[in-house]
Amino acid sequence: MLPLTNITRRRLLASAGVGAAAVGLGGGGFLAGHQAADASDEGTGSVPFYGEHQAGIGTAAQDRLHFAAFDLLSEDPAELRELMRLWTVAAAEASTGEMVGDVNHVPLAPPEDTGETVGLLASRLTVTFGFGPSLFEKPGLGLAGKRPAALQPLPPLPGDELAPGESGGDICVQACSDDPQVAFHAVRNLARIGRGIVAVRWSQLGFGRTASTSRSQDTPRNLMGMKDGTANIRAEDSEDMDRFVWVGGEGPDWMRGGTYMVTRRIRMLLEVWDRASLQDQERTIGRHKYSGAPLGGSEEFEPLPLDAERSGHPVIPPDAHVRLASAKENDGARILRRGYSFTDGVDESLGELEAGLFFISFQRHPEQFVAIQRRLGSLDALNEYIKHVGSALFAVPPGAPPGGYVGEGLLA
């Protein structure tokens, strides 16, 4: 293990200065925040970083993702506090399209901002932070007493073939943007700011959203060519968001207005899928491939005819993905999905494309995901074509007000 290190004086000064400026800029924005999932400024606009909830959850899903899970190298609570303070300031700067830091024009000093987004727009960048269960198991941090009862490592689930190097993590950063370079820049600069305190454990690029989180967005297709997330919770449905996504009075207090994030790296066996007949593909999912309508229907947003039968057989097969994932078959439980398609080159041992879905879901309690995945993992016809190879769970604290920092309720 590395001994404790300190963050340099320059960074402390920089954060103090910029933090003060941010208070001025964000005035009045705290409660208004970014609750509205507006996709009207798609591609260019900026999404407020500060607010009641963290951005990147109920805000409209952008096209690109760079996700990173970090291991904490230090067990000094003061260092973790300082890290979250600096990360908050940097994430807020990046979200407005500004350069990170203030030492960027000294010829003999390395610029604080790495520079690859100079001249690019904010591109709706959102940066979302979460804390993994392992963070609460570090004695030096003294956080055990504040650990939410809900934050237990996900249990082994049917169909898991998890690689430890692609799972877990003490802290996560989800950076989403309509420009992949903007998302990458956010993660890269946060990793650099955290050097010596955190190290990247694993990271994932996502190249296309596979879910809509707003009514203003069309339903995208995943790499199987299927519309994914038709029945997703939409941010406009604030009752559903409050009921299924945001932590409420059940607490702990520092999580109120926060949520729990599950990530699953799901490898798709695309070669096998591509050889399945159109009818098999549609029966596997339970939807028509091109319209996205439930089997037997003609409109994407028609309710699922779960009880309909034809010739004595259910129209939606018992093992169809949409049936097993539906709220009706899961005691009403729903989750907010916000995943991305990925590809990471070639599986060298198979000579096949390494590609799939980086599944992200937000829910008020991790059990919502666990219950659904228990059924899917053991019964879903889709299992023939997918493998869950990475998994992580994070407690996502509420948003920060201007001048505060994400996680302040936990760490202060």
Partner: protein, 288 residues
């Protein structure tokens, strides 16, 4: 290779150590000009910094010559076993002062190029002989290469005597040495036949620390906190190497796991991020 240091040296050379214009060096589109200290008006504290580091350079250049001689003799005599034993000793002083050697044009590639750094016919120096000893298992054909190596390290030691340095360059050399660790030692590319990469790793860090210690009095004036953190981080990096130390050096690079190299790389990155702030800090200190 130390492109940054070379560029800095070239710029300083062109401006006669008087004025370093960032724009002219292509490092920035700003028009900021850094006033360097005028040669001949160097303050005693800056002179002390330069003198300390020049001593270090000279000691290591002398050690390089002294340890290369017996190595070359063993290669010329065709003594494979002895040559492999004696290969390690000259690598250490060389790796401690490599950025300076790098500034003398063709000497560094002649002495230290890896096979993939140069055109096919130009592969010579330490690593050509390393390849013969470990991969080909022979000294055959290496006598002229070894003799040329000896002449080159002697030429290097001679040039070191006249080298002109300023504190900012010394501090940039400290960064450059850690860049070497990140680029080729932690990856096992430098000593790809003998796998003594951790020996080079330690020598690079020792050289970096010596350069840092030389400029430290200047940094103490401008940013004592940073200075203290860097000192602690050097200790942390040396400590992270300890598990791999053996009676006569270090374990082979091939024995390291991915987790081992990750921990070493994280330690280096932690130190290097802070060390990279030193040139700008001492530039301000020199003028305060």
């Amino acid at each position: 290779m130390h492109r940054n240091l070379v560029r800095t040296l070239l710029c300083l050379g062109a401006f006669g150590l008087l004025t370093l214009t960032a724009a002219a060096c292509g490092s920035s589109d700003e028009t900021t000009t850094i006033e360097g200290e005028v040669e001949g008006q160097t303050s005693p504290r800056v002179e002390a910094v330069i003198a300390e580091y020049r001593d270090y350079l000279q000691q290591n250049a002398d050690e390089l010559v002294a340890t290369t001689e017996p190595f070359v003799a063993a290669v010329v005599a065709g003594n494979l076993v002895e040559a492999k034993e004696l290969y390690v000793a000259p690598r250490i002083p060389y790796e401690r002062i490599e950025p300076v050697a790098d500034s003398f044009g063709s000497l560094d590639p002649r002495i230290d190029a890896r096979e993939t750094d140069v055109a096919a016919g130009d592969f010579e120096g330490f690593h050509r002989i390393e390849k013969a000893l470990w991969e080909e298992g022979t000294t055959k054909g290496m006598a002229p290469v070894a003799e040329q190596l000896e002449r080159d390290v002697e030429a290097l030691a001679e040039k070191v005597k006249g080298v002109e340095l300023q504190p900012v360059q010394i501090a940039e050399g400290a960064n450059g040495l850690l860049g070497e660790v990140s680029a080729s030692k932690i990856t096992g590319e430098e000593e790809r036949y003998s796998h003594i990469d951790l020996v080079d790793f330690e020598a690079n860090v020792e050289g970096s620390e010596a350069a840092f210690e030389a400029v430290k009095p200047l940094l103490d004036e401008s940013n004592a906190d940073l200075s203290g953190e860097i000192e602690a981080d050097f200790k942390m990096v040396f400590n992270s190497l300890e598990p791999y130390r053996t009676a006569d050096g270090f374990v082979s690079y091939t024995e390291l796991t991915k987790a081992d190299t990750k921990e070493l790389a994280v330690a280096i990155d932690t130190l290097a991020e802070k060390l990279s702030q030193v040139p700008a800090e001492i530039a301000s200190s020199e003028h305060s």
